[in-house]
Symmetry: C2
Subunit: 254 residues, 2 copies
Amino acid sequence: MPKPEVDPTVSLDLSVDRSSPVPLYFQLSQQLEAAIEHGALTPGSLLGNEIELAARLGLSRPTVRQAIQSLVDKGLLVRRRGVGTQVVHSKVRRPLELSSLYDDLEAAGQRPATKVLVNTVVPAPAEAAAALGVAEGAEVHRVERLRLTHAEPMAYLCNYLPSGLLDLDTGQLEATGLYRLMRAAGITLHSARQSIGARAATAGEAERLGEDEGAPLLTMERTTFDDTGRAVEFGTHTYRPSRYSFEFQLLVRP
Amino acid sequence: MPKPEVDPTVSLDLSVDRSSPVPLYFQLSQQLEAAIEHGALTPGSLLGNEIELAARLGLSRPTVRQAIQSLVDKGLLVRRRGVGTQVVHSKVRRPLELSSLYDDLEAAGQRPATKVLVNTVVPAPAEAAAALGVAEGAEVHRVERLRLTHAEPMAYLCNYLPSGLLDLDTGQLEATGLYRLMRAAGITLHSARQSIGARAATAGEAERLGEDEGAPLLTMERTTFDDTGRAVEFGTHTYRPSRYSFEFQLLVRP
DNA sequence: GTAGTTCGATTGTCCGGACATACGCATTGA
DNA sequence: TCAATGCGTATGTCCGGACAATCGAACTAC
């Protein structure tokens, strides 16, 4: 009697294209990720061992390990020495990325409207100057935006950018969000320091967001750095808590 | 005339102990990280190339690459093909970890006091049951705690845990925090889904935290999973925004 | 029946090499 | 003067192999 098949990857039609410029480990990791997302690899199931998988695909073990490792880093797989590699249960998914609010909502299917209130060059206020590492009063870009869903205000965003970093077109800003524009301008984002808090709305904030004075607001302050260590953006955002909250997943670094 | 020294790692006294059970790449990455933290490797400086570094330490290039890669993943280093590996500027540091509030404050030097208000077994409310994946009304642990700094309340924490997962000693809870207890019980934390929002304080919340009714509160809801995909904790926390905010760093995954 | 031991399976670590690819800089050419 | 080209250098990718550490289960001994 034939042993029942225990390795779910054999029925998966995995293959790599050696003539493609995309790295082999990346091709493999993408196929595995798609299989997990699609349900072909069920949560909790064990992937067959690396050696055999490598042999079946005509790859070396280091390459297969690199593919698997990238999914482990994403939190989709768990490795156990002496046991094997397991698909984590489906509840546990969705990564924490450096994404803009626009990206968040777009992914959620709600296309938010953006209204640019201010897009100009101003002398840097003390707080923005400190965050961006420029002299107080130096020229910086200031962008004020209002985010709306279903014609209702949801967030008020105020951002400062170093002058001359990129030219901010109001039309593009309303169409595509600040982070996409920076990436498109060749800026490689590296990291951001964030601070999330809450406070009572001032009269001006209340009016802008359609709340009452003293109503609770969710606030976020963020400084974003590119990979050279330059601060490329500083923003203070206020959200209506009835219409927005921060949702994300944390991964434990082993 | 001798060429000036450009590789800052040569004056660093790096060495590995091959008789140690700790992996070589980890020994190296720790020493490099210490050098960065200590300032011996200044921000923006280039690390000498991997080949030479490997030769100097008597290691192979894959091992050195693994060490460097782990620091890249932490956001401390940046690699550029054809250029070299650079130390990121010092402003950009501090990782985002799955840490408890207790850990946060301990790191900040403020030892918070914890008062356990409730530590008992209750039938699971609907919300907690859904998050933990148990039947509504099933037995779960319920822990209510008050966090104080300088004898002032700062946060009210309400947590649910699956029954039988670990025994929660009130004394230990006040001394060391929930996450440490779980780790100590052999639970390997994997990830957590968090949601941060804000709302006006109810009368009961206001009294517990020493605020006025209607005052803005910062709220956090979290479900934590271990590496088998089990939910091991569900908590709803409320913070006084004047005394606490969430600060963390996001890293861009390249 | 229970506790301790052995053993197979699997991932973890490490090696030494090879070629590809992209970046910065100097050289060359218009 | 300025743009295109070529070259050195560094990381990126990939290979095939070796041994160690650990887990789980079957097995043995008491």
